[in-house]
């Protein structure tokens, strides 16, 4: 067992080495190929040749849209958990804030009756989510780590309960006729329609790419170094002159903003938002996806978010001993996580540093203090 694991591990490490050692143009070519693949993926003419990959029990392009939203969320949460090392258990709460901002300001069911266009509300939704992140983070990020976990958990529950029970947020009945993103084909048909999920998927995919470029630039800057130092040893970071509170708040608020964007995209596609979209479980799934993929690594978060969201949908329509696997999706998911944490606690594609943190020798000797 262990030898197999060792072999898998060294194989993966060798692949990593080869990737880092490959010439620049090879890496670019591969990257372009991967991106092109994902743009082509929702087309029936393409995915029908992909064997078992398309989901049997659900419309594959719809699934791809859901998966892309999860990937965007995982990339955002990775900033908070992976880079700055802050445990956010209620990340989906920010997604809800984004989606509800759009719903309240655009839907005819809303009491406000503002009926603003979708595109106008998106920046508002992002701004408002960021603001809620700052409001939540300002009192809690000064305290120790576990407080943040509890407060974020409470925040997400609060949003959900408000959604279920407040008249203003319409509970189960929800908000109808949320407008779609703008844009028309030459023949006057809207680009973002009701039936075809592809344009929405392409939109999210494009935004993921932009967000990833932004996040990558951040992590390679002083901001990124500050985040990593906070994650590794907050006191030491402070002793090196890093304004830790400020940077933690930044990470928390930028993560929130990305969730707000995801929520706005979701609302714009779905046309309908109600209280059932925001179960606590979703927060846990995204957090697990980030850890599963390898927190602290952007590629890890993308793979984790994508794989987890996809696998859950993939179980639809598969029967084993007369039960649909989909019914047991969380059991299977939980088992996979437990196995992972035993054999590969640093995640599928960990960050190099993160892997080193797991090997930290300081834990060998207990001195002083």
């Amino acid at each position: 067992m262990t030898t197999v694991l060792e072999r898998v591990r060294s194989g993966r490490e060798a692949a990593g080495e080869r990737w880092r050692g490959a010439p620049r143009w090879v890496r670019w070519a591969l990257l372009v190929a991967v991106i092109a693949f994902f743009y082509a993926l929702p087309n029936r003419e393409f995915y029908q040749y992909l064997g078992p990959i398309p989901t049997p029990g659900a419309n594959f392009t719809q699934v791809l849209f859901t998966v892309s939203i999860y990937v965007l969320l995982a990339v955002g949460l990775n900033i908070v958990v992976g880079f700055a090392g802050l445990l956010d258990l209620g990340y989906f709460g920010f997604f809800a804030v984004g989606a509800y901002t759009v719903a309240v300001l655009t839907s005819p069911s809303s009491n406000l009756k503002t009926l603003w266009p979708w595109l106008l509300v998106v920046p508002l939704a992002i701004g408002l989510t960021m603001l809620s992140g700052v409001m939540l983070g300002t009192p809690t990020l000064r305290l120790r780590g576990d407080y943040l976990a509890i407060v974020t958990l409470g925040f997400a529950e609060m949003i959900r309960i408000a959604a279920v029970s407040s008249e203003f947020l319409k509970g189960q009945r929800g908000f109808n006729q949320i407008p779609h993103p703008p844009g028309k084909y030459a023949d006057g048909k809207p680009f973002f329609g009701v039936l075809d999920a592809r344009p929405y998927y392409w939109l999210v995919l494009t935004l993921i790419i932009l967000v990833v470029i932004g996040v990558r630039n951040l992590t390679h800057s002083r901001v990124g170094r500050a985040w990593i130092s906070i994650r590794e040893d907050e006191d030491a970071a402070q002793l090196m002159g890093v304004p830790t509170f400020k940077f933690k708040l930044w990470a928390f608020a930028s993560g929130a903003a990305i969730a707000g964007l995801a929520g706005a995209l979701f609302a714009g596609k779905q046309n309908f938002v109600n209280s059932q979209n925001f179960e606590l479980l979703n927060s846990i799934i995204i957090l697990a996806a980030v850890i599963f993929g390898g927190s602290g690594n952007i590629v890890g978060a993308i793979v984790g978010g994508g794989l987890v969201a996809y696998m859950i949908e993939r179980f639809r329509g598969i029967e084993l001993f007369g039960v649909e696997l989909y019914e047991y999706r969380f059991l299977i998911f939980g088992l996979v996580l437990v196995v992972m944490m035993i054999f590969r606690p640093e995640g599928l594609i960990p960050n190099r540093r993160r892997a080193a943190e797991f090997k930290d020798r300081r834990k060998e000797v207990i001195v002083g203090e």
């Binding site: 002083r222 170094r225 500050a226 990593i228 130092s229 590794e232 040893d233 006191d235 030491a236 970071a237 402070q238 002793l239 090196m240 002159g241 890093v242 304004p243 830790t244 960050n351 190099r352 540093r353 993160r354 892997a355 080193a356 943190e357 090997k359 930290d360 020798r361 300081r362 000797v365 001195v367 002083g368 203090e369």
Partner: protein, 236 residues
């Protein structure tokens, strides 16, 4: 005076760890702070570097009252601590750790110069520049912590037990390096269990007992003080 601490008390919740401590460090000095386990030496360091707020009293650094200043801003004023128990960044390489030491600085040329100096002081770190901090041996981590603190080019360097966990040969070496750093112009406040070595090199020293300063004098005076000898130097 570069550093003046006046009547400082510090609480951990209900536990009072410092009871009105006063001490001073003049520019160019090495000042040692010695005391038994739990006397409050590290706590004093935390109060000075600002990672723990003080309850009463004042701390002045370079003519400015910094009692309420945030820790990271104190670093910018020229005060840098190498924390006890090493406190290096385990996932960062040796070079990246040293680079973090210069976080508050922007003068590239000066940083490169200091990096060369640190690698010169600690050839072991130069050999292992690409290795992750967390995989270094205890002694190497200790050197890295000291080297990293130097990278901020502090006016006052706070060292909390730099010799902890080192082999006798290395202890000798690290004290020599402290002396050298001091001669190159950095003022040093040094906490040590290794009282013999510390007192032999310090210009002045303070003895801390259960959160109070009980004795002070030049290094040589305390080295020959019968009470200090008995309590901290292991001679009856």
């Amino acid at each position: 005076m570069l550093l003046e601490i006046d009547d400082v008390s510090l609480l951990y919740g209900r536990i009072q760890a410092l009871h009105g401590i006063s001490l001073t460090v003049a520019e160019g000095e090495i000042v040692a702070l010695i005391g038994a386990n739990g006397a409050g030496k590290s706590t004093t360091m935390r109060a000075i570097s600002g990672i723990r707020p003080i309850a009463t009293g004042s701390i002045r650094f370079d003519g400015e009252d910094i009692s309420k200043l945030r820790a990271d801003l104190r670093v910018r004023r020229g005060l840098c601590q190498a924390p006890e128990g090493r406190g290096i960044f385990p996932g960062m390489s040796v070079l990246e750790n040293l680079d973090m030491g210069a976080y508050t600085r922007r003068d590239r040329a000066g940083i490169a110069e200091d990096l060369a100096r640190v690698l010169d002081l600690f050839p072991r770190l130069a050999e292992r520049r690409k290795q992750a901090g967390g995989t270094l041996s205890g002694g190497e981590q200790q050197m890295l912590a000291v080297g990293r603190a130097l990278m901020s080019r502090p006016k006052l360097l706070l060292l909390d037990e730099p010799s902890m966990g080192l082999a006798p040969m290395l202890i000798q070496q690290i004290f020599d390096i402290i002396k050298e750093i001091n001669e190159q112009g950095t003022t040093v406040l040094l906490v040590e269990q290794n009282a013999q070595q510390a007192l032999a090199r310090a210009h002045r020293a303070y003895v801390l007992e259960t959160g109070k300063i009980v004795k002070t004098g030049t290094g040589a005076e305390l080295l020959h003080d019968p009470a200090v000898k008995e309590a901290y130097l292991g001679v009856a």
